[in-house]
Point group: C3
Chain length 397, copies 3
C-alpha cells in the first residue's frame, strides 16, 4: 500500500531544491526557509518510515562523534538514536567540562577525531559567548583539514545546544506545533508565548527562548516573549527576532507581565532562564574558577528569582489563554511544583494534563537530528531518500 | 551440510508455540515452561549459528539501552555482545547508583530513552524491595507511552539482575546443566544443592539463590537450599519454590548443614549471600545514607559470617557428593581461598578443577540475553529464526 | 574506472603470501618483513576504498573490545574508527588504572569479555615491565580458552601501546614516510633521527622511540637515536635495533648530541621520554602507591630534564638538516614552546610549518588498526579484500 502522506512530503522535498550537503548546522537563522522546511520534511519522512518498521539506514558503516560539555540524558539518547537509525556508530569525546579548550588543542583534536567521522554533534551551553564560538572553531578546523587534504571528507558539525540557539529542540518544537495545528500553514498568526518562569535553580541556558524567538516568527507565528524586567536575552537575537517577524509576516513583541502575555495565547512555553547579564558574570567566574564568587552570585540570583515566584504556569493563568486551553509546551525536564521541587515553573495539575503532549514534543528530536545528519552528509538527499522509501527494507528481518 | 541438531531444535521451537512478542522478561516464574523452553532453544540456535560463523543479525538498525545501577563487567559485556550480534547498538544510561529515582523522573526518563529503542536491559540488585519494582515502573511507563501513541513500539524490559531474580544467569545455568546431563529430560531427579558459602564480604544479593530455587525444580530437579540458620531468603520465593517443585514433579527442601546437603549431590552451587533481614536493614541505611549505621552493620555481619567460616566448598566436602565428583557451579566471580581472598566460598583446588566449567557456564549468558531480545521483539520468532538459518549469511565476508 | 594503484597493491599483497590469521599483534619485531608489508598494503587498500566512499565492512556483526589503562583520545578514536569501518561495535572495558591486575583475575576477565569478540585492543604503557606482559597474559588466557573449547574463536589481541612498543603508531609513521619518499624502496639509506627532546613533564613512555628503532632500520633506513646521557632505552631493544639494522642493510647508531645528530638528517622525530631507570623506579613507586616517593622522583627528574632544556627542535637545529628542510614528525600531542607550554619539545614556528604533516602522519593510524584486525581475523585476507574491492559497495546509500 502506498503511503500518500509520505509521498506528498517526498514530492515537496524534491520541489524545494534546498541543498545542505557538506554544510554544518549551527543556528536556524543562518538557514533559508526552504532549508528549514527540508529538514522538517526529512524528519517527517524518516519518522514515517521508522514508525512503520522500515529501515532508514543510509550508511553501511560510519562514525558519529558526540561532544557533551554539559550533562545530558535526553540529547545524548536523541543523538545516539538518530545516528544508530542511520547506520552510524557513536563515539563520545569525554572532555572535562571545567576546561574551556581553545586554539591549537581544539584545532588538533577536531581533526584527530574526524578522520573517519560523518558528523560531530556538540552540546556546549554553559558559557555565554563560548559555546557557539567553540563549534565554529571545530568547524573551521575541519574545513581547513578538508581543504588541505588531511581529511578525505568534511564531517558536519551539528549544534546540539549552545549559548545562542538550541536548534534540534526548536525544530522538534516546530514539528510538534505543525502536527497540532494542521501543517505549517496552520501556524500563521497563531499566538505563541515563550515566558520566563520561576525556578528554584539559577543559571539555566538562554538558548531555548532565544532559539524559539529566532525561529517561530519566520513561520508567521505571533510570538510574545515575556519575562520580568532584567531577565533579558541577548539583544542581537531579540533584534533579529523582530526583523525576521516583519520580513515573514509574523509578529514579535516583549511583555513584562506573564498574565497579560497569556491572555488569548494559543500556545504557552513557560521556562526558566538566567538573565544574560548573570550568564555573562557566571562565565567570567567559571573561567576564573572563583568558587566564592559563584556562590555569592547564586545567592543573589536565587533571591532575585524569589521576587518573581508568581511567574508560575498554573490553572489560573491557563484559564486566560484562548478558550482556556492553550497548548502547553516544554523542552523537559520541567521544574514541577510539588513534584520535582517545592515551587517551580509549572503547577502539578497543569503539567499532568499536558505531560503526554510534552513527550510527543520530545519524540521529534531524534528525527530532527537524523534529518540534519542525513541532509548534510548525503549527496542529492531527496533522490537518496526516494530510493530508501522505494526499497522499503524492513528494520527487523 | 544440514545441521541435524539445529534442525531438531528449530522444529521443537515451532511446536511449542510460545509467544513472547511485545512482552518483558522480569522473573522466570512469571513464564510458562513452554516459554522458558523456547528461550533455551532460541539461545541454543543462536549459539549454534554464531559458533559456526553465521550471522545472527535480526535488526538492520536499532538501539539497545542498558541501565546498570550496580557495577558490572560480565553482565555489561554479555548484554553488549548479545545486542551487537543481533545488529543493535548499545547506549548506556549512566545513573548515579546512590539515588533511588522514582515516580515522575523514572516515568519521564523511560520514555525519553525509548523513542527508538528495542530493548532496555536493567541491573538493579542493591536494594531489597526496590530493584524489581523499578523495572516494573519502567515497563509501566513504556506500556502507557505505547498505548497513548507516544511510542510507536513497545521496547522490552529485560531483567539483568534484580533483588528477586537473576534470570539471565539462572537460564544460562540451566543451559549449562542441560549440556552436561544430556538434555532437559536428563535433569529430572538430579540432586542439585545451592548452598550459602562463607565470604569475607557481606551484602551480596539474594537473586542468584532465589532465582535457582525458583527455576530448577520446575524442570524436575531435586533441589536443596542449604544455609546457616538466619541466612534466610525471601519467604514468598521459598514458598513458591516448594509449590512449583510439587507441581512439576521436582523436589525442594531446606538444610542447615552444608556437609549433609552435599551428601550424594550431583551438582553443587556454593555461593555467599546476605540474609534477607540484613539486606532489608542495609536498604534502609542506604536510603538514609547512614554511613555510621552501614559501618556498624557491616561489622556485625562480618562477625556473624565468621562464625560460619567452615561453610567452604573444599575437597573434603566434594568427596561426599555423588561418586565424589559433583559438578561445581558458580556465577563468577567466586571468592577463592588463597587466590582472591584469604578464605572464601571455595578452596583453590576445587575451583581450579572446575574453572573451565564455570567459564562454559558463563558462556551461555550472552546467548540467553540475545534469545530474550529476539523473542520479545521479533514477530513470529520461530519463522524468522528459520529464515535466518536458511539464509546462512556468513558473519565474516 | 579501475584504480591502477589499488590494483597493484592488491597484487603485491597476494604475492607476499603472509598469513596473520588467528594471530595477535604485539611487537613489530615478532613479525617478518612480509607480514609487516602486508599490513602496510592492507592499510593502504582500506584507506583507498574508504577515501573513495566505498564500504570496507568485513563483518556483518561483531564486537571489538578496548582496554585503555591510560587516558587516550587519539588512540581511542583510531580504534573506534577502525572497528566501526569494518562493521564491528566497540565495547570498552573500564579498568581503574591504579590497579595492576594479574593472574586469575586477568585470566577470567579475558575470557568473560571474549565470548563474542573479534579483537581486543589494549593500551597499557604506564608501568615498565608490565604492559606487554599484561597483553600476553590476556592472549594466553584467550588461547587456552580457545583450545579447551570455552571460546568458539580466538579473538586477536592488538597492542595499542605498551611499555615496549607502540606498533600502530610506528606503522602509521612508516606509511607516512612511504608516502613522502616514494614508496618503501625510497626509504633505503634515508637518514632518520629519533631524538629525545625537552619537556616540562616527566614520565612519558619509552614505547615510541623503542618502536621506531625496532622498526625503521628493518626497511633499510639509517637511524640515529639521540639523547642526553642517562636517558637510556631498554638495552635489549637497543641491541635488537643494531642487529636488525645489520641484517637488513640499514644502519643504527646512538648520539648524545642533538645538533650533531641533526646534521644532514632527512627526517627528525624529536620527542620526550623518561629514562628507563626512572620508568623502573616509577613503576615500583606506583605499585607501592608511594605518593611522597613519586613526588620526590618527579622533582628530581624535572630538575634533570631542565639541565637539557636546550634539546628543543627549533629553526636553528632544523637548518642543520639536509637542505635545511628535513621532514619533522611527531606522534602528537607535542609540547610546543609558547603554545602548550612555556618551553617544550619543539618551537612554535617549526611545529606550525609541519602541523599539517603531523596530521597526515596521524591519519594513517585508524587504517593500520583496521588492517591489523582485518588480517588477524579474516581467513585468506588477500582474497577477501579482492572480493571487497570488486563488490565496490558504496558506503553511503
Amino acid at each position: 500500500m502506498k503511503d500518500i502522506s509520505l509521498d506528498a512530503k517526498m514530492r515537496e522535498l524534491e520541489t524545494l531544491g534546498a541543498d545542505l550537503h557538506n554544510r554544518d548546522f549551527l543556528l536556524t537563522w543562518e538557514h533559508t526557509p526552504a532549508e528549514l522546511r527540508s529538514i522538517l520534511l526529512t524528519a517527517q519522512c524518516l519518522r514515517a518510515l521508522h514508525d512503520s518498521e522500515r529501515s532508514v539506514r543510509a550508511f553501511d558503516t560510519g562514525l558519529a562523534v558526540s561532544i557533551f560539555r554539559d550533562q545530558s540524558t535526553r540529547t545524548r539518547f536523541s543523538f545516539a538514536s538518530a545516528a544508530t537509525a542511520l547506520g552510524l556508530s557513536v563515539s563520545d569525546l569525554d572532555e572535562t567540562k571545567s576546561q574551556i579548550a581553545h586554539g591549537e588543542t581544539v584545532r588538533e583534536t577536531a581533526v584527530m577525531i574526524a578522520f573517519l567521522a560523518e558528523a560531530i554533534g556538540i552540546r556546549d551551553d554553559i558559557y555565554l559567548g563560548e559555546g557557539n564560538r567553540y563549534m565554529r572553531e571545530v568547524a573551521a578546523a575541519l574545513q581547513k583539514g578538508y581543504e588541505q587534504g588531511v581529511l578525505s571528507r568534511r564531517p558536519a558539525v551539528v549544534n546540539l545546544q549552545c549559548d545562542l540557539d538550541h536548534p534540534t529542540q526548536t525544530l522538534a518544537d516546530l514539528l510538534h506545533l505543525e502536527s497540532r495545528f494542521g501543517g505549517l500553514d496552520g501556524l500563521r498568526g497563531r499566538r505563541f508565548v515563550i515566558s520566563w518562569a520561576y525556578s528554584p535553580s539559577y543559571g539555566k541556558p538562554l538558548s531555548v527562548p532565544q532559539g524559539l524567538i529566532g525561529l517561530l516568527p519566520r513561520f508567521g507565528m505571533d510570538v510574545t516573549l515575556a519575562y520580568p524586567e532584567g531577565y533579558d536575552l541577548l539583544p542581537e537575537i531579540v533584534d533579529l527576532a523582530g526583523k525576521q517577524a516583519a520580513a515573514a509576516g509574523g509578529a514579535f513583541r516583549i511583555s513584562h507581565d506573564m498574565a497579560e502575555a497569556f491572555d488569548g495565547a494559543e500556545i504557552v512555553y513557560p521556562k526558566s532562564w538566567a538573565p544574560m547579564q548573570v550568564a555573562r558574570r557566571r562565565t567570567e567566574l567559571l573561567r576564573k574558577a572563583d568558587q566564592a564568587g559563584l556562590k555569592a552570585l547564586e545567592k543573589e540570583c536565587l533571591d532575585e528569582n524569589a521576587r518573581h515566584a508568581s511567574w508560575q504556569c498554573d490553572e489560573a493563568l491557563m484559564k486566560r489563554t484562548a478558550a482556556g486551553s492553550a497548548l502547553y509546551m516544554h523542552c523537559l525536564p520541567a521544574d514541577i511544583s510539588g513534584v520535582s521541587c517545592e515551587k517551580g515553573e509549572v503547577s502539578k495539575d497543569v503539567f499532568e494534563r499536558y505531560r503526554l503532549e510534552t513527550y510527543r514534543e520530545a519524540a521529534w528530536k531524534p528525527f530532527v537530528i537524523a534529518a540534519l545528519i542525513y541532509l548534510t552528509r548525503v549527496q542529492n538527499a531527496p533522490a537518496a531518500l526516494r530510493r530508501m522509501v522505494d526499497s522499503g527494507t524492513p528494520r527487523i528481518r
